[in-house]
Structure formats: structure tokens, C-alpha cells
Amino acid sequence: MNGMNVWLWSAAALLLSLIPAGIVCFRGSLEDRLVGLEMASVLVTLEFVLLTEGFHRAPFFDIPLTLAILSFGGGMVFVRFVQRWL
């Protein structure tokens, strides 16, 4: 296909791995959903890396970098909530 490269094909294939993570996020217990969310955030970070390289836009690397930092902070907030209030 025109415009596609190995990075974009890999990004498309990596989307499949989000399906099991999504199932766990939507159907599991509260603890399972938290673990599914953490897995999904790692996968989406890698997905953005592949898309950035696939589109040849080096400045877009800021997006996965920011997501990697923020997903840690967000995960810790959810962890705190699960431990104390939910």
C-alpha cells in the first residue's frame, strides 16, 4: 500500500495487543482493571513511538515521552485510590 512502511505496519499490528488489555479493563474486577490500564498505557506509549517513526516526525517523540511520564503519575493516583477509597 502506498505510504505504508514497516513502522506503520507494526503500529497497526500492535493495536491488536490493546484488545486483551481493553477486555481486562472493561470486564475484570477493580484490581484487574487497574492492571489492565497499566498494561494499556505501556502499549499505547509504544504505539506512539512506532507512529512517530513511521511518519518521520522526530518532534512527535515528545508525545510518547510525555505519555510515559504522565501514565506513571496517573497510575499512582489510581493506585492510591484503590488502596484507600474505592
Binding site: 499490528a13 498494561m39 506509549t45 512506532l50 517513526e53
Partner: protein
């Protein structure tokens, strides 16, 4: 522009295969403690494989530094987050973090192990 198409394809294929395999593995595990381990494999294997592919393909220093940062963040933050999550789940289920004597968790010291082996 692809400089090493076969090498890049192999690295990316491996990274994606590992991610899909361990994501599926996470979904079929029985409880949250078992599921927790699978994210570390994706962060620790798929991430470095993709970083290696980017390093090989991209001559831009900015891209190389950022991808290394991303993977280091993923690996180390995932370890911290997994520990915090396990702790939170245990506190939620048991009401405390410390080992209760009634749980009968075997704690074997290195000296005991050596005595058993002798």
C-alpha cells in the same frame, strides 16, 4: 528512508509479537497479582527492541535520546508502579501490608537453606 530493512523488520516483528503474546497472557491469567507481571515483559522486552530499531534507523540525535529516555522511563516506572499496585491490592484485600502469622507464608533464611542442602 530504511537503511537496514530486514534487521528493522525483525526487531519490530519481535517487539510486536512479544507485546501481543504477553497482552493475551495477561488477559487469561486468574487474578490481578498474576496479571501484574506481564506489563513488565512488554516494557522490558518490546520497549528495548523498538528502541534498538529506532537507534539503527534514525540518525537524528534528538530521536535517539528521546527513545532511550522513553524506554528507561517505561522500564523503571513500570517496576515502581507494579510494586505500588501489588501493595495497594494486598492492602485492599487483607486490610494490611505486613505478613500476618496466620497466613503461614514460609520465610526461609539463607542459613536455613544451606542447612537443608547440607
Amino acid at each position: 528512508m530504511t537503511h537496514f530493512p530486514i534487521l528493522t523488520s525483525v526487531l519490530l516483528g519481535l517487539a510486536v509479537a512479544v507485546a501481543i503474546f504477553f497482552s493475551l497472557g495477561m488477559a487469561i491469567m486468574a487474578d490481578a497479582f498474576q496479571r501484574l507481571h506481564f506489563g513488565a515483559v512488554v516494557a522490558g522486552i518490546s520497549g528495548p527492541l523498538i528502541a534498538l530499531a529506532v537507534w539503527i534507523e534514525d540518525n537524528d540525535a534528538q530521536s535517539r535520546i528521546k527513545i532511550i529516555l522513553i524506554v528507561l522511563l517505561l522500564v523503571f516506572m513500570n517496576a515502581i508502579l507494579s510494586h505500588a499496585t501489588a501493595r495497594a491490592i494486598r492492602v485492599r484485600q487483607q486490610g494490611h501490608w505486613e505478613i500476618d502469622p496466620s497466613e503461614k507464608i514460609p520465610i526461609v533464611s539463607p542459613d536455613d537453606k544451606r542447612a537443608e542442602e547440607a
